[in-house]
């Protein structure tokens, strides 16, 4: 795989030698990792709980400050961007969100225009257009006058994505966007992500727990364990029995479907000291 050295990339996103710690003197959550995010692609972070995938995601979005290392965004050190400049380029959806009980979807979407507005500037036609587009794209158009507190989890997620899209960002960061959703809504979110990527050319970074969602939607997968990147590449390259064993300590079988254009990871059980395909006894 040929990857340009991150420092010299003119556009794109890369993290160089990142070390992140939540508290001083604790073991780092991310330990000296370098990653390059392919532009215009969907990059999926996988890894067990506590592997640092959310942390790495938030660090690349500059929501966490690394103790060491730099993030390069579009050829500039990300620290040089003003917070608002940054928010116009990248939007992040957190795993958990809360909004006042009486906020409507449309009002939330308008909050996404915050980084585009000056101190006393009122809403411009451009703001309204961006919000309209975001509501349409995210499919939360018909929910616009509903209260967020009264939506289902899936609809809530769409509403928050509408806010994200109102920012008109080039980079989208989604921290486990499907975790609390039923299957239909998981597909809805992931289809939306794909559409945003294919139609608008957004670079998308997201973390998921479901390997089959990763297999199906990812252009590029980064697998983490204990704060280190264990493997990266296309889904075929990363989702192998050996790598999954190393990352999750789980035995799997990789199954191709009949059409042959996608494959599935079937979990078999936890890996034991002595590997047995039948699982632990």
């Amino acid at each position: 795989m040929s990857q340009e050295s991150a420092t010299f990339t003119i556009s794109g996103l890369a993290g160089n030698d990142l070390t992140v710690r939540y508290r001083q003197k604790q073991t780092p959550v991310i330990a000296g990792q370098t990653v390059a995010i392919p532009e215009g692609k969907i990059t999926v972070f996988i890894g067990p709980n506590g592997s640092g995938k959310s942390t790495l995601l938030k660090t690349l979005a500059w929501q966490l400050r690394p103790e060491m290392g730099t993030v390069i965004l579009d050829g500039r050190n990300i620290a040089e961007f003003s917070p608002k400049e940054l928010a116009c380029r990248l939007g992040i959806l957190f795993q958990e969100n809360s909004a006042p009980n009486d906020l409507t979807v449309e009002e939330l979407a308008y909050h996404g225009r915050y980084p585009h507005r000056r101190l006393f500037e009122s809403l411009t036609p451009e703001d309204s257009e961006a919000v309209e587009r975001a509501l349409q794209l995210s499919g939360s158009d018909r929910l616009r006058h509903h209260l967020i507190s009264q939506l289902s989890s899936g609809q809530k997620q769409l509403a928050w994505i509408a806010m994200l899209l109102s920012q008109s960002p080039k980079y989208l960061f989604l921290d486990e966007p499907t975790t609390f959703l039923d299957m239909a809504h998981q597909f809805e979110i992931m289809d939306l992500v794909r559409r945003l990527n294919r139609e608008l050319g957004n670079t998308v970074l997201l973390s998921v727990h479901d390997l089959n969602l990763a297999a199906r939607y990812a252009d590029h997968i980064i697998a983490l364990r204990d704060g280190r990147v264990v493997a990266e590449g296309s889904s075929e390259e990363v989702l192998t029995v050996e790598i999954l064993r190393e990352v999750f300590q789980v035995e799997t079988r990789i199954v191709r479907d009949l059409a042959g254009d996608s494959f599935y990871c079937v979990p078999l059980g936890k890996t034991c000291e002595q590997v047995s395909v039948k699982g632990c006894r």
Binding site: Q63, L86, F94, N97, P100, D102, F120
Partner: protein, 368 residues
């Protein structure tokens, strides 16, 4: 939920709120001006308020508004003798109404802002130390340093702001959070409150105690044009600051991470908004003492009518705050006449009742 159900957002509810509140303020004002221990007919009161005796003499009007000293510096001559009714209406009763209106605005604004920055509906203007700091300095002055009595309003204001800074310093640990701020406020409140109560034992006589009680429960007794001049500029500043901060308040309600991801400097914004709210609360304290519950329940009532977006919320508070305060003050002054009780006692009783109602009616409240 039906597909096309539109919620009553603002519009009608706001119109109702503004109309009712304005009516309440006018009614309270009229009662305050007309009634009291100095007997006058309603007609006399109306005449004194609107007649040519004051309005026909710009110099007299300015003398009232700007104060003796300024008038003298402007070279105004001594005024002609004024009728007693006019004098009472203009120097005692009217300014009290005006101060009440402004204190109401300040407390309601301050409460709204604190509820947003702590993301807690139960937050009051006094949450982050204003009451503790102001209360303690008031007691210190009254009991231990009576010579400073003339500067009490300013000292109370300074005390409130000092305590706020202390609260912020305690809460700070690589940044703050709503919970840390509230906890720090409780810590300072507990300590300052104890010392404040302890100081009562050193009071020399009953007058001092009553005076201290009036300050610490909040009272508008004896306010005049001097207090109007004292609070008016702060009110204006706070209203302007409040309305220019509405977008930031709205975004703070989405939580720190989201606010930050939208490009808002969360800590700086929170501190500046808190400082504006403290200014607001402290200016109210400097003229009226610690009137409780107004800053807590007014934003509550307004929010339930017009929703949480702050442009509407603050606009509603601009009317509802004065309405509650002027009505409560009219009650406190006239209900048990000739005894005037501090207005803070009335607002406390009203506030308790209101929360009882809330608790019975709402399933869940507190979090914003």
């Amino acid at each position: 939920m039906p597909e096309n159900e539109k919620l009553p957002r603002g519009g009608k509810a706001m119109a109702l709120l503004v109309t009712l509140s304005s009516f309440a303020v006018l009614l309270a004002a009229f009662v305050q001006v007309g009634a009291g221990s100095y007997e006058m007919t309603w007609r006399q009161a109306w005449h004194a308020l609107t007649g040519a005796e004051v309005w026909g003499q710009p110099e007299l009007l300015l003398r009232l508004l700007l104060g003796e000293n300024v008038a003298r510096n402007l070279g105004f001559g001594d005024p002609d003798a004024i009728a007693t009714t006019t004098l009472i209406v203009w120097t005692v009763r009217l300014p009290r109404v005006l101060v009440g209106i402004m204190v109401g605005i300040n407390l309601a604004f301050s409460g709204s802002i604190f509820q947003a920055i702590t993301r807690n509906e139960m937050a009051s203007p006094y949450l982050l130390g204003v009451s503790s700091g102001a209360g303690l300095t008031i007691m210190l002055v009254l009991v231990l340093f009576p010579a400073l009595g003339a500067h009490l309003p300013l000292i109370a204001m300074a005390g409130g702001m000092g305590a706020f800074l202390l609260v912020y310093a305690i809460a700070w640990n690589h940044g703050t959070s709503p919970v840390r701020l509230v906890l720090a406020g409780v810590i300072i409140g507990a300590i300052a409150g104890s010392i404040q109560t302890g100081l009562f034992f050193f009071a020399r006589d009953l007058t001092v105690v009553q005076n201290a009680l009036a300050w610490t429960t909040g009272s508008l007794t004896g306010v005049g044009w001097e207090q109007v001049r004292m609070i008016a500029p702060w009110t204006l500043v706070c209203v302007i600051l409040g309305f220019s901060g509405t977008r930031y308040l709205d975004i703070l309600l989405l939580g720190d991470p989201t606010a930050k991801s939208l490009g808002m400097p969360v800590e700086r914004t929170r501190f500046l908004l808190a400082a504006a709210a403290i200014l607001s609360a402290a200016s109210a304290v400097s003229v009226a003492g610690l009137i409780g519950f107004v800053g807590l329940i007014v934003p509550h009532i307004v929010r339930s009518l017009v929703g949480s977006p702050h442009r509407r919320l603050l606009a509603g508070c601009l009317f509802a705050g004065p309405a509650l305060l002027t009505c409560a003050d009219a009650t406190s002054r006239l209900a048990l006449s000739p005894v005037q009780i501090p207005v803070g006692i009335v607002t406390g009783v009203l506030g308790g009742g209101f929360f009882l109602y809330l608790m019975r009616r709402k399933q869940e409240f507190g979090r914003l």
